[in-house]
Symmetry: D2
Subunit: 511 residues, 4 copies
């Protein structure tokens, strides 16, 4: 029988899954549930050592002999600090020790309750990874707990620390079986031909494989996922995710229904965006994707084709849709004529429109989705290229970053399409928010500012448009005019029109 | 109507309770629930500023003008980082700004989901206090949330940061009233006569006041609380807590029933041990306690007398109880004869026995309750005093720290009473743990070691006892022998006897 | 004979000066110079304990017995980590332990050289203060070393950590005497009447006392110090510094010639601005200053009078000086008529001009002297007061923070005097910088921007001036016009004129 | 002409060497020396942007366009904090930005001097590497400065931060040429065949190549280097270092004379042990070494042979040397008979003796060279292997870690050779230390303890020896006896004898 503590059981299950066979355990009451569990596991042998400092070095010696990670498990309080010398030694010897410490719940630290001190980061830089497990109370925290343990256990050649807060009562042992926990595997090697083959093979053999890349474009996927609805025939069983942020929340939710996801990225970070990650490969995701696409040219995959057809259908509809005068109309027109320039989209509404209408790769600050630097990023880009650089940007992002225009570096190569509807347009699309009286003034920051003044101040060629013909003419000029100085076209729209057009478009895409 | 998010409502309620009147708010969707709430509060005026960097300085300017804290509220992601310049400036100007940032739940950080970065410590040392609120799902997390907000808002003359993770859905606004939240007040001044009077007055005027001090002795309170049971007549309405750790868990639980606690301590830390703290005074708690005791000599308080009588009654019973041969018998005998020497108790069973039988203040490492240094602390103490120094210690603590004896500094002034029952005795008292097969070997670390070898190694005079007469004779010798070298008496007992005696004693005390 | 290591000797000298009498020393070669020194000091008794974990608790026990700080000295590497349990216990018991660790020089950390690990912050939050001493190679590093040791040793009721990097060769012991080191004393108590009297008495009894306060005004002191030159008759022997940043570098250098400085500030921070600090009092500096000023009304102090006369003389000259058209002319005219409004000055040239011409307290972000928030701070201030708020600001600061104007909160109460000379004016005053070809374009950021556009964008009333009569008329308008909206006057000047006028003014002040 | 600031010039030289071509520069005075230098470099183009927040995003945009790192250079104070949003975005986009910030010298932080705040770690976890350069005042600090810049610039796909403290006077520009700085190259890829060939080729083509590995054995190299003295014919021109700590300080000093070192290690850390590192390859050093050894079997290299002959000669002498009764005699005898068991050596004298007499790989905690866990490590090792495990250990290490014996896990497989000369033997060998009166009692911790007691306490078979015949018999027993329990042989020697034998041995080796 195992402990009644869910995080302890998740931990135990994953220790076994990751191949742990030896554990040095130190006496204590707070860690008794963990020690109990380790002792129950047939695959793990326990060694009791009372002095924790000595116990740490026992684990080091065992790990040297076994050439694989060894657990050392201590109770809360200074017990953990006694491990520091062995952990430091292991760190510099590049030996794996898995420190497991029991802890009080975070809410009780520094409240003059017994044996509490700040444990989660107590081993400092001597551990490569330190995690502190939640006590799960719903599926999301259960997922989180699993992920944290996996993140620690995929580390190689270095000590790690798993801190386990446990609420009283501590001593219940009536769980008959450990939960079957998803294990995440990690392949740190650069992409060898064998690995490449392995991934490709997995993809092509899957019944319903899907290749996903973000940063910042998954064109029309948001629409597609909306159209698919609950049709299980479109849910992939195998997702290969080669990194980059996904703009569409709907797409992310959809991919959480897949059976498993393999990730390839250059830094080897464990990002479990779809909550079903099972493999992480450190390597060049784009190269893997190219290889798979090449293989599929030879031998098309029916599920991939099915999705391609779906996307093509939506593209046709989107292309046929003629929005009334609005931000969307401006972006659609712009994208129709822009050709192969470098195009930067700002966050919020702008990048969402790009995902519907752009025909080419675009740039966007999707790392942390801030609005403060979109204009500067595009401006800086224009200083280091010979191509034309366009920036499509909403009003809040533009004015926020207007200092991007205040310098001597810019020239006629840099052009701006400013979508000004007098507020953060995106806030009008958020369901539920309309009930708040604070929305317009404080959340969406309604304003009546125009870019004309700042353009004058910085010697930027200024154009504006307030209706469809002006907008079209303006974009034509923006795209074609010869100019020594940057050019800006400000397209004024009404936020209610923008909202309406978006609703119509969404309806169209559902047909 | 207020947000449906409980942590947001707790925060809002406490902002009002702490006297906030001005808030600079920056647009965003994640922080919309907070902005909504601020806008709903009649006592708070909101000012919308879109550029967060500028907003931070707005808050600084307002706080300068008002000479009280001003809130600046931002959404998740880099929004927070834009505040850093203003927060740094406020830090060096010693101006209070309360940074409130919305955040994604911790489980989603670094999972390539939008606008997530590690926010809780993002403002570094420029804020005096940074807290990240839980999303409450039970009373304990609700209490924790309240406490964290209070901890941030009691800070004066410095910026603070309150990070607020909010789970989706974000936009529900159907809570009719803010919760009435306990506010913790903080008095940073040293103890002025007026403050002293104020506290004393509160104490003496209370119906059922109780003075509590720890570190490490609340003699017989554990027994008393057990005896009192559910009798409401003994529950205090006003607790004055002058610091130090409380050994008895039962006492701590009991004091949580009190209406409120005032704390006096020298560092001004906010430790909410009894979950009902309302005032913290920075100052010398012992001096306050002395003053109150002096006042009560003049005018006794009936509730305090009632408790004194209860404790006296238990003392009589404890005194009358004659334990069979056991650790308890040894400590009782030792305490009867030790007189006014300096006595150090080790953690675990030893200090628990002191709380029943010691007649004088004792020393114990209750800061973090570690077992690794009890012997060394007592040994070090003996190097810096002319008094005799005794150390009463269990076997695990003793052997753990046996290197305390390996040096040339010790002399006959230092004497040790070693209670050796072959395991961590305390583990036998923990209800539920007996069900675990791991208890004896791995949790309680049963062993068969004696101190004789280490005493020989370090030239310590060694005595031992295995029955009542030997123990009494041994203690007599330990107390009275002249010696140039340290003296150790090892009292061997059976852990089952120790357990039985403890049970009997507990029964006696319930009569 | 003492060690040849200068930082070790400074440390030893200050340990004695701060009253250390007991040291627990652990064997090692890297710390041998320190142990040697401690053993040489007649005032310090050494106790050798080999196991560092035990040694830490020895020090704790001694500090308990002595009720004053005890040193524990360890060698480099994991030795330090072994102290963590005792230090954590001392932290929660509020007992003072002074951890002294020898270290390799920082340049050798993590270079696979023996016994090196990152020591300076290894004890984390369990020590109140952690410093790592430089190995002095000139007077400034010697001062720095002294200050760091003092900063650690003034801490009370908490462990501290002094890390001592020592370069090889380690073993030279030929220094005959310890250096006589300046000790900094710290008084944590709030200002009692006795303390107030003590400080006042010291001030009034001093031969040449000087009261200094910053943040942000020491009007005309820069000029005065320039005039005084090397005249020793004006150098104070006792400086009472009540906090705030000093704008004038010349004044700071001058005050370093004083014999000693006492500081009064609310946070009790140890800021050794004049390099001669000897006492820090935690308390309200303004109250102390008021008291002293009051006392001097009754009994004037000749040295203070001498300085007052000097400043009055300079004031007369400054007042009489009629600058040609320039930023200075604008500020002088503005200050002559502004009356008692709230005036914010931006950093750089603006606040320097205020120090010459303002007749009243002003506001300025001198905490960290950033330029990014001056306008926002003033704007925010205007939202929380009923007074008129003026902001005097240079061009770089203004455009940098122009988003301060992009919101709906501002009204006619807020007015801006913008000094636009097309570059960071201050850079023209920095001697030596003119030799760099990068100065104009890259260091001073020359530009040709006007505020007119941004004012139009944000509906700010815009005025401008390009010569003396326009400037005077503009300022009259700025001061007197009724307006619902903010008003801005942009005064355009030539940076060469600004530079010339400043030179002339400096000449005048030297007469 | 370049700046007179040495750290600025080292930085500039390496920026060029690492291929930087674009720099975004922000105005300021503290960073003027850096901006000046960048502007002087023909290979670097500067772009002036005044708002640092915007400047950061300019750099991001440029780095996107160029697909290589771009510098952004800011002045001290909050300027740096304004970069945080762009740096966070770059971090999540995996784009390289090199943040260069000017700073005040560390000694002036928080002293109320202008524009100072704690800069070195201000960008937190958003930069992969943050370094703060010294202001060089000798060759070692110059080396340190070079190394830190290299450490930052080898990072790929992530922002880094180089902080540059600069002492006044700031503005001198009279250095005619940048220093020619050693560039360190980094190859992050796992070992491809091409890389393996490249390294092998470099090695075999070198005139005087040397293969060095540590952890913890470079047998007889210490002696060899002593014998070689100043003979330049033995100095390598190309060192291939495959990691692990070098025990011999003399060897490390010797290798600093080599022209350059290439390092191969698994973590890719940049450890410049010999101060002449030029290439770091992330990979399996042992595999590279094997390959090279294999190649040299086919085609021996004369310089390598020359060294092999030297080592062989010393081995003969060492082998022929018959030490008098001493620790050395014990180790020599032990090593002669031990065969192929697993042997752990403790730090200090023990591992030094192993480097002279061991004939096989040994284990030793050389990560951080602590003495606190050698016995526990060996003990733990014995719990996870079927081989016999010996631990050769000095007295201080043994008693320090005697708790290693206090548990139920050990059996007859584990055997200890304790070299007890009553003190830390190594301290007698440190030249200069004998002048300190503190040496014996406090530095070397002389004691008179025997292990007999602790062996009795823990049921360890105890043997001892006090002369040559006993020692030999004891070792025979230690090696051959059948036992269910661990066996310990304590060899008592006189530290003066140990010292004398070591001196004689050193003399022998110089012949």
């Amino acid at each position: 029988m195992y402990s009644n503590k869910e995080n302890v059981n998740i931990l135990t299950s994953l220790l076994v899954a990751h191949g742990i066979t030896h554990a040095v355990v130190c006496p204590g009451s707070r860690n008794a549930p963990i020690v109990h569990n380790l002792n129950e596991c047939p695959d793990i042998e326990c060694f009791s050592v009372t002095d924790e400092r000595s116990a740490g070095f026992y684990a080091l010696g065992m790990a040297q002999a076994l050439k694989r990670p060894v657990v050392v498990c201590v109770t809360s309080g200074t017990a953990l600090l006694n491990l520091a010398p062995a952990v430091a030694e292991a760190c510099y010897q590049h030996v794996s020790i898995v420190v497991v410490s029991a802890d009080r719940p975070a809410s009780w630290i520094d409240q003059l309750d017994g044996q509490t001190l700040p444990q989660p980061d107590a081993l400092g830089r001597f551990v490569r990874k330190a995690v502190s497990l939640p006590e799960p109370h719903d599926d999301e925290t259960r997922w989180y707990c699993n992920r944290l343990v996996n993140e620690a256990l995929v580390v190689r050649h270095a000590p790690v620390h798993i801190n386990v807060p446990i609420t009283e009562p501590l001593f219940g042992f009536s769980v008959a079986e450990l939960p079957l926990e998803r294990r995440i595997e990690f392949s740190p090697a650069d992409m060898s031909p064998a690995t490449l083959s392995h991934i490709t093979h997995m993809f092509l053999q899957a019944k319903r494989p899907m290749l996903v890349s973000g940063q910042p474009m998954n064109p029309l996927y948001d629409e597609a996922v909306g159209l698919v609805g609950d049709d299980e025939g479109y849910i992939p069983d195998f997702v290969l995710y080669i990194g980059g942020s996904i703009v569409s929340k709907r797409l992310k939710r959809f991919l959480r229904k897949a059976k498993e996801t393999w990730v390839v990225n250059e830094t080897g970070e464990v990002a479990d965006t779809f909550m079903n990650l099972t493999h992480v490969f450190q390597g060049d995701g784009e190269a893997v994707a190219d290889h798979i696409r090449f293989m599929m040219v030879m031998e098309p995959h029916p599920f991939v084709q099915k999705w391609d057809e779906l996307l093509a259908r939506i593209r046709t509809q989107a292309s046929a849709y003629e929005p009334a005068y609005s931000s969307m109309a401006a972006v659609k027109y712009f994208e129709h004529y822009v050709g192969d320039a470098e195009v930067h989209y700002a966050n919020s509404s702008a990048i969402r429109l790009a995902n519907s209408f752009a025909q080419h790769p675009v740039w966007c600050n999707r790392g942390v989705n801030g609005i403060e630097g979109s204009l500067s990023t595009a401006a800086g880009f224009s200083c280091a290229t010979d191509s034309r650089v366009f920036c499509v940007i909403g009003d809040l992002s533009f004015f926020y970053d207007q200092n991007a225009l205040w310098n001597q570096n810019l020239g006629g190569r840099f052009r701006i399409l400013l979508l000004n509807n007098g507020c953060g347009g995106i806030f009008n699309m958020l369901p539920g928010l309309e009930q708040s009286p604070a929305r317009d003034a404080y959340v969406a920051a309604r304003h009546h500012t125009s870019a004309e003044g700042i353009c004058q101040q910085n010697d930027i060629v200024y154009l504006s448009a307030s209706d469809m013909p002006q907008m079209r003419a303006g974009i034509d000029t923006l795209l074609n005019i010869e100019s020594e100085r940057p050019v800006l076209l400000e397209v004024f729209t009404d936020p209610r029109d923008d909202e309406q057009v978006m609703k119509d478009y969404n309806k169209i895409c559902k047909i």
